[in-house]
């Protein structure tokens, strides 16, 4: 798995490419932007072809640590198979999910500004 990063205004969009399962979840935790707990990020899932509960667990852990520092991780662009994991585990209740990275970044910027 590789992890791409881009900036939209001052929000970083992190885009993992490939599979998020037990064999790759640790790579998310090692990523600088994701593990920097006080920075809000957009996680672009458009290039994640497969996610299982170990991948989901890593996402929950990262979001939780960021929230403790008043930051957040919002999600965008998941495919149908990834969506199914969120539905069955009811994980949609835990995340703000957007259709595309631009509107997700827009939302984060507004929210950060109003704090």
């Amino acid at each position: 798995m590789i992890i791409k990063e881009t900036k939209l205004d001052n929000i970083t969009i992190v885009a993992p490419v490939g599979t998020l399962d037990a064999s790759t979840a640790s790579l998310l935790n090692e990523n600088k932007v994701l593990s920097e707990t006080s920075a809000t990020v957009v996680l672009d899932l458009s290039q994640v072809d497969f996610l299982d509960s170990s991948g989901l667990g890593a996402l929950v852990g990262i979001a939780r640590k960021k929230r403790e520092k008043k930051a957040d991780m919002v999600l965008t662009s998941m495919n149908d198979n990834v969506r199914k994991v969120f539905e069955i585990t009811q994980a949609f209740q835990l995340f703000d999910v957007y259709d595309d990275a631009r509107s997700a970044a827009e939302h984060c910027r507004t929210k950060t500004a109003s704090q």
Binding site: A22, S23, V60, N81, K84
Partner: protein, 143 residues
């Protein structure tokens, strides 16, 4: 193709998880093509890909401590109307009744068996000669 059996034996180490789940996905695709099913292909493949990913990860993660990873065996059987996958490990015994998801506290784990049971038609677990075998079956939708 009926009665075909495919067996994959891997070291019980999560580094091999993706090999297990990709083999499951490709096997489900072959099973469907042998049944001439043309609808719901992606859902059926994904159900096996995800369930085998979960079951293999558990087999690797909950092994008894040992210096070498114990082998985990994944087998697939093409039956008359359904595809069956079995995952065998030598771990301590466990039960497949998953607790309800704890939405209040949403722990970071505990969703593997829930996913398997949601995606498969039948799931069972058998203890035999100090091994666990979790067996799961699913029938494609025929139209």
């Amino acid at each position: 193709m009926k009665d075909s059996t495919i067996t994959l034996c891997l070291p019980g180490n999560i580094r091999f998880t993706r090999l297990a789940s990709l083999t499951a996905s490709k096997t489900a695709e072959l099973f469907l093509s042998s049944m001439k099913v043309s609808k719901g292909i992606d859902d059926f493949q994904h159900a096996f890909e995800l369930s085998v990913s979960e079951a293999f990860t558990n087999a690797a993660r909950y092994a008894s401590p040992s210096s070498h990873p114990q082998p985990v065996t994944i087998s697939f059987r093409f039956e008359e109307k359904q595809l069956t996958a079995s995952i065998t490990d030598s771990n301590p015994a466990f039960t497949i009744e998953p607790p309800a998801p704890d939405i209040e506290n949403y722990p970071e784990g505990g969703y593997g068996l829930l996913l398997i049971r949601s995606l498969m038609d039948t799931v069972s677990c058998r203890r035999e000669n100090n091994t666990n075998t979790i067996t799961m079956s699913k029938q494609p939708e025929i139209h």
